[in-house]
Symmetry: C2
Subunit: 199 residues, 2 copies
DNA sequence: CAATCACCATACGCAGGCGTATTGACTCCG
DNA sequence: CGGAGTCAATACGCCTGCGTATGGTGATTG
């Protein structure tokens, strides 16, 4: 365990990477830029990481874990009805600013959006995003199924709910309250009528 | 009217800009890069535009017009019921590869997504996107209103429908057919029950 | 107390992008 | 033909970012 002024760790750089991503988008995830923000030289970076791709990869690993299992676990560990879980999930995803994930928690909404941006033109990031989406969708669909919807309907509603979360988040950068209320309305709508799948 | 090998126009560069944006994202909208793709030198660019910002600005102007008025006009000029218009709109936004807008039509889905990415960390682009969103949402809400929904419900459903378009587009890079079907289901759901706004 | 190790700073060469300045071609007009 | 105007190629200086190489410093170990 070194002392001096507390040597940087690998995770410090990952956090720095997410800060850059969140505040400046994919374009801002530059080593020298992050180094400046952290008031160190990039010499440190290349000690902890092989190159840029390694940082990106590490960031994605963290996010894959945080963006799926962490959220789901926290939702499951409390004793809620499926309906409550769905409501809670909506609130959690839109409002993820609470202290979670042991310090590696970077900023919720903006961060997810930035990662989605990133994924659009980066194969590896896209692969991570697909995993996360898939896990989340399966989980949401499972909750709908527990409420009595059949498999197709569950998947459909999961798609639509999750898509709305993403789309609404994009529409309303500013007013968070309306976002949650809109999502809540959608959920109500989904849970009011079970089956009427038109052809 | 010059001759030679048909001198480049301002719009050629704008098209080039959109091609770059669509295929490589905001990061790819670089003058020298676009110039290479167009097999000319950047000397040409700086004849037609003052700088990068000018190109971006011009691109946004084009998109503002194309992304709102053009879509709405084409939807309105045909004689459809409001319900049909909504369905048609969904299909049109997701499936905008038909020959439209007189040649300045760059690639539908990917392009819109790239512009949204761009807007996240660029003030001017964001301003354009807000305008376009606002216009589209008003139009969609108007259609819902024509179907008998009150103002609040119209706005809500417009928000949700439009958000779903965006979110679904993100989820399903690959299968376009499912996207349309999901949207169609959502619309059906919206139009089946008029009012049940829970508190 | 030297040797080693962990961690960081500095300096380097390279590539790519920006915007400018200069020059070159081709066209139009007188 | 000569000059003005339109458009594009080339060359330049600047900056930023990458990854490497090398050197320094403080702790740790024998």
């Amino acid at each position: 365990m070194p002392s001096k002024t507390e040597a940087l760790t690998r995770e410090d750089w990952i956090k720095g990477g997410f800060r850059a991503l969140t505040t400046g988008g994919p374009e801002a995830v530059k080593i020298e830029k992050i180094a400046r923000e952290m008031k160190v030289s990039k010499g440190s970076f290349y000690w902890h990481f092989k190159d840029q791709a390694a940082l990106k990869s590490a960031m994605m690993s963290h996010w894959e874990a945080w963006g799926t299992q962490a959220i789901i676990d926290r939702n499951e560990e409390r004793e809620l009805s499926p309906k409550e879980k769905l409501q809670d999930l909506s609130a959690r995803i839109t409002n993820s600013r609470d202290a979670a994930s042991g310090g590696l928690h970077y900023g919720g909404l903006m961060m997810e959006a930035a990662i989605r941006d990133w994924s659009r033109f980066d194969k590896n990031v896209r692969s991570s995003v697909r995993k996360v989406n898939s896990t989340r969708l399966d989980y949401i669909a499972k909750l709908f199924a527990q409420l009595g919807l059949n498999a197709d309907q569950s998947k459909l509603k999961a798609n639509l709910l999750y898509s709305s979360m993403i789309g609404l988040e994009f529409l309303e950068h500013q007013k968070l309250a309306d976002l949650e209320s809109d999502l809540s309305e959608l959920l109500t709508l989904f849970l009011c009528n079970g089956d009427d799948t038109g052809g």
